[in-house]
Subunit: 389 residues, 2 copies
């Protein structure tokens, strides 16, 4: 059976082999500790859970408008005003099936086949696929650890070509847990616009930050109305702990909204309806209080990991101030190291291959979306394993 070129281009998640291996060990009764997880270890906040149950009980289960429930778009607009002091009209907010579908719409609406899109290396593995599905060519820009693995405009500029369409960034980023500074972000968005390109900024880990107050690129640029060719991606998955609900949103310039609506109508019909009603509860005070408590817990874990991992023999060159990841140097080839760490120490952390073309074998990612008790145990196991190899 003939398959498309795209289907051969698309990479599997290499980490899945390791995770399957971990699951097999667990099935044998081995107490594996997962530092591999890309989702919060907390359940959905209770008010959101209750709102979801109520939506289902009230039969709110039919198709909605393609751009999402007007009420939810309004609520997100209000959230931008109260939490970030920025004006984003509801008409520029589009509800999507997770940041995933938002990234898809953005790439399909902005990239022409054969155009290049710059991606920071390391970064979220799926970004290249979104570019490729639109016929675009991902161009990885190597970042420096002194720069917290985020690109500067200079580095992007050096890679800019006539066929470059724009830039796709994440701040905070996965796997690094680091942010772009406001000044770097501003420079990038401005300079890219001067070159007639677009900037997509993925803010899915916004609010999961531990050393400064959360920020949005929208604060820097002001409302994205006509001025900036800027698309902002966000999600209910991480800060609001709704991963399996598949709900996110995007902020688009007015000029782009009709194209996004057409894509959404045709490709998705609408996002999950009960999830949209439930998400309204995310912006209530009681939910935000729970999310804030969890942020504090993540912060304590981050502090613990940053202090104890180096003592256990893991070198960390950047300062992760956000998300729930630490990007670190593997003591030896990261694929082999992670495999041995799993088999011999029952700790599952992930090698760098999925996240980076340049640092695939040297770097690895630790997730601290796990209890402090498990983190302490894991670090002790890592220390013992490292001291034996």
């Amino acid at each position: 059976m003939k398959q498309s070129d795209l289907s051969n281009l698309v990479q599997p998640f290499h980490v899945m082999e390791l995770v399957k291996h971990a699951n097999a060990l667990e099935a044998q009764g081995k107490p594996v500790i997962h530092l591999s997880i890309g989702e919060p270890d907390f359940p959905m906040p209770e008010p959101v859970q209750q709102a979801l149950i109520k939506a289902v009980a009230d039969n709110k289960t039919r198709y909605t408008a393609a751009l999402g429930l007007p009420e939810l778009r309004e609520a997100i607009s209000t959230y931008y005003r109260t939490a970030f002091q920025v004006t984003v009209p509801a008409r520029q907010i589009v509800i999507t099936s997770g940041a995933s579908t938002a990234l898809m719409y953005a790439c399909l609406a902005l990239i022409n086949p054969g155009q290049e899109v710059m991606l920071a290396d390391p970064g979220y593995p799926c970004n290249k696929t979104f570019v490729q599905m639109a016929g675009g060519i991902p161009r990885f820009v190597q970042t420096r650890e002194e720069n917290n693995f985020q690109p500067s405009w200079d580095e992007l500029n050096q890679n800019w070509k006539p066929q470059t369409a724009g830039v796709l960034l994440a701040s905070p980023n996965n796997p690094t847990g680091t942010q772009l500074s406001s000044s770097d972000m501003k420079e990038i968005v401005q300079e890219v616009a001067h070159r007639d390109g677009f900037t997509i900024v993925d803010e899915i880990y916004q609010s999961l930050c531990y050393d400064n107050t959360a920020q949005s690129v929208l604060q820097i640029t002001g409302a994205p109305c006509a001025q900036w060719p800027l698309v902002v991606i966000n999600s209910f998955s991480k800060y609001f702990g709704m991963t399996g609900l598949r709900l996110g949103w995007m902020v688009v310039p007015d000029a782009l909204a009709p194209a996004i609506e057409r894509l959404a109508q045709n490709l998705s019909i609408c996002p999950n309806t009960p999830a949209q009603w439930a998400a309204l509860a995310c912006f209530q005070d009681d939910t935000l209080k729970i999310c804030e408590q969890r942020r504090q817990i993540f912060k304590a874990r981050r502090d613990f990991m940053m202090q104890s991992l180096p003592l256990a023999g893991i070198e960390i060159q950047s300062t992760p101030d956000s998300a729930f990841y630490i990007y670190a140097k593997a003591p030896f080839d990261s694929e082999r190291y992670c495999k041995e760490l799993l088999e011999k120490a029952l700790v599952c952390a992930v090698p760098g291959k999925d996240f980076s073309e340049h640092r695939g074998t040297t770097m690895m990612r630790f997730s601290y979306a796990n209890s402090m008790e498990n983190l302490e145990l894991a670090v002790e196991r890592i220390r013992r394993f490292n001291s034996q190899t």
Copy 2:
């Protein structure tokens, strides 16, 4: 801001203007009757609703495997065996965010940029967009009313070119509510395979059929293991009344499964988790009994509409035996007719433009996803309107 060529190619739903107009009239207190709706007017079956609430209460809200819950893939495999007497191993079943996402994966995995894909005209408006998003070129094949608006292999064959990649069909189809005969279906799948092409068959309205027992192309071809380059699309939206839950599935040949898994991992992460747990309840006896009762209700409505619409001055040339649509001749230009019918008779049926290149202005679609009481009232209004024009 520069937009992609695709974003300009993608058509809006023209019917949305009419629906907005209808909503505006309703907001003024006018009792519009909707014969425009593409989803069942029933709520989700109660056992499914209860299962969904339970899944949420049990915190089943995290990411699942990209291909979907193994339990649900097994349940669908069992359903094929018990309801259709056909063996479809769970490993070939992929859970998706509605038939929409299944159509997307199929097109991305099978079509190369520049290749043509044949679509029956009339058909589901989004099909062309799925082809286009993969870089393919939709080639509409005009069908005949004597053939219930379904294509024959001869008609497809006449349009086959060196750059043709395959065929995308729906049986039962939207907007026609008609099916392909088993013999036509078999011939198409076989002949397309001989030409090294693929056949995608959308069975989203399977089981909503009123004159014969429901069938699947999989019964005709046997299990799709290696033999047939055949992808089958299905959904929990229509027969199981779960539109807003965004859950569907596809059956793929073994050879294609790894490519679909890579696409799903990268583009979606996974389908909505509580919806997947809830869908397990679809195959329980009590749910199937409710769905069967609803099918009987749809059948009675279909019979009523087929009998009374011609008496009210609407010409119907085909025999809709499935879905909840009747595709009929508009007394005059369908766009103008539907607008006037809405404004003067407060009945909202939809013009043909979205569904057909060839019959956009002559044909229209009535949906009978509405109560018998409303259908009777609507037909009486249509009769009076037609007798005055």
